[in-house]
Amino acid sequence: LLIATLGACGDDDEASDSGTAAGDDGGVELTMWTRAGTEAQSQALVDAYNESHENQVELTIYPNEEYPAKIASAAGADALPDIFTSDVVFAPNYVDQNLWQDITEQFEGLEFHEDVAPSHVSAATSDDAVYAVPHTIDASVMFYNKDLYTQAGLDPEAPPETLEEFASQARTIRQAVGGDTYGTYFGGNCGGCLVFTFWPSVWADGNEVMNAEGSESTIEEAAGVFEIYRALYDEGVASPGSKDEGGPTWLGALQTGKIGIAPGPSAWLQLLDDEGLDIGVSAIPGVEGGSSTFVGGDVAGISATTDQTDAAWDFLSWTLSEDAQVEVLAKNGDVISRTDLASNKYASEDERILTINEVVGRGVTPFALRFNESYNDPQSPWVETLRGALFGDDPAGALHDGAESITESLNS
């Protein structure tokens, strides 16, 4: 206890500098789980924290597809780590299952709490109580390969402003370059991928995929978006692999440099740059124009079963501090979770990051209590719907039946 108190005193100055509410940096060993999708950001945050603090966080990373099951089985066995993250769209369900502690008081003790990504905070809020804070932000954007644009005679500085234009640019690339180079690519067997990349086009057109309460599907309003992607696949402009893509090889396909333009997670920008590709970033447009994005990413909370609450909060509050947001996340080219730090010194260095930050401001984080089982799970009604709408004989019927079965799943 003495050591813990001393440690906390020793760090008091630092804590007040960054405006964090009381945490405990007393040399505690903390365990933390996250998923592979946001591994780079989590690892960078943990490394920086461990270097500058007495507490040490041990991070364990699980494959995306297995992560929700891992959380569920650990919760059932009373074996959750001190801190765990969740895909922001699954957060309402974890809150509902009481897997995180109520951290309203600590969170509201942060001077800047009103500037913390509102879409993420509200996903982790229930009855005015906050259960988790933003951990990483990942928005869907269009990635286009500037070299292929040049080769195909397109202007590499003129990304599409409507989904129709996107389709015609993809066709031009397929026709002009050909061979094993394709116009576009999408996860045609992956519920989570299409939620993330197709829905922004629906929103950009002023349509909705479901109601605000997350209890009724209106997926028929996505018909126009599906029609465009369906045609691209039929014509052989989208890579044939699009039909099989269940998620695991999505990034790999974009990294080959043989895809003209495709929507994907902004967090992959660095990974595409690392392959030596000249990648441009633009917002995902609607069929008629406009643009939007799916503001995804992860939130992190303190598990309901840990007794190291103060030490865990010390870490979480630090991840929201200016040190972590600017010097760790922004420096790495990641989207940050605080609106008051948006125009930091690193963001203005890369206009693509500015594009991403700008689109996040107009983006949407959809809410549904039963998100995973309705949309992400391979056996979800959404996967059946999207496959019918993209590859089936009766796309309109698939969307009509889909709206019904998704609504049923949302209310089960």
Binding site: A72, G76, Q97, K243, D244, Q379, S412
Partner: protein
């Protein structure tokens, strides 16, 4: 007292690792059982919900169909291999080892191996077949259509388990006294007659064991579908255990998962009793 001492450790193990979990599952199946927090008795809601579950109904039909196909294919291949390598000849050890070798690979690992081999993006199968001129364009082995996805998993299961079942059948074959075959030959029996009148009847208990292992294993199939086909395309290869997994770990409804498990268990017990009864009666005759 000494008897209890001898039986004690086993009784404790069985109680701890079999009876207790079994009782717990039945208990769970009668409750609304969330991950954390209050559990409330709701019997028989979990069971009536299972009866109304469309996904479970389709999965049951598929699992039964899969079981029949796998059992026939796997038994045929395993028996064929066992007959091929039953006699000691030069080099037979090499073949026995080669046939058995896949059994040394973990099943989840084998599933991932097949997923990689069959992948359009990274696998060599499509390239090889294209170069040999057997296919004109890449085939999506795991998602193109339900038949192909099923065939891919049957291929995987046969590759992984044929050697193991061959070994069991081989033991059965070799326990038949050579004198019986000699006597049959003296009596002028042909190859087929010897196989039908001597090999098969004396192999009954071994065959019963192998069939029960195959049927039970197939009804509880999970890894191959979870990893290779993800239950697709369009839920066509979703097995019963995948539905249980979805109830528990995606829908967080542990009571419902337990209820389906109980139903699967009852079905398996009844089936095994019937199987044993049929095979025993025949061997008594």
């Amino acid at each position: 007292v000494l008897g209890w001492v001898y039986a004690g450790p086993l009784a404790v193990m069985v109680g701890l690792f079999f009876v207790l979990p079994l009782v717990l599952v039945v208990w769970m199946s009668l409750h609304d059982w969330p991950l954390l927090g209050e559990r409330t008795l709701n019997a028989p809601d979990n069971f009536t919900a299972a009866a109304d579950n469309d996904l479970l109904r389709d999965a049951t039909v598929f699992t039964l169909r899969y079981t029949v196909i796998v059992t026939v294919v796997l038994f045929g291949v395993a028996m064929g291999l066992a007959l091929l390598v039953q006699h000691s000849r030069a080099g037979v050890g090499l073949f026995r080892t080669a046939f058995f070798l896949p059994a040394a690979v973990g099943f989840a690992t084998a599933s991932l191996l097949f997923l990689g081999l069959l992948s359009n993006e990274i696998g060599p199968v499509n390239d090889t077949l294209e170069r040999l001129g057997l296919i004109d364009e890449p085939v999506s082995w795991t998602t193109e259509n339900p038949g192909l996805a099923l065939a891919s998993t049957v291929g995987l299961v046969t590759w992984r388990f044929a050697g193991f079942n061959m070994l069991i059948l081989l033991v059965g074959l070799q326990s038949i006294p050579v004198e019986l075959y000699e006597a049959a030959r003296v009596d002028g029996a042909g190859r087929w007659q010897t196989f039908r009148r001597i090999t098969l009847p004396l192999m009954r208990s071994t065959i019963a064991l192998v069939l029960i292992l195959m049927v039970t294993g197939s009804l509880l199939a999970f890894d191959q579908f979870f990893i290779v086909t993800r239950g697709g395309p369009d839920n066509s290869t979703t097995s019963v255990v995948m539905v249980i997994y979805r109830e528990a770990f995606t829908r967080f409804d542990l009571g419902s998962a337990a209820a389906i498990s109980v139903l699967a268990l009852v079905f398996l017990v009844v089936l095994n009793i019937a199987q044993l009864a049929v095979l025993r009666r025949r061997s008594d005759a």
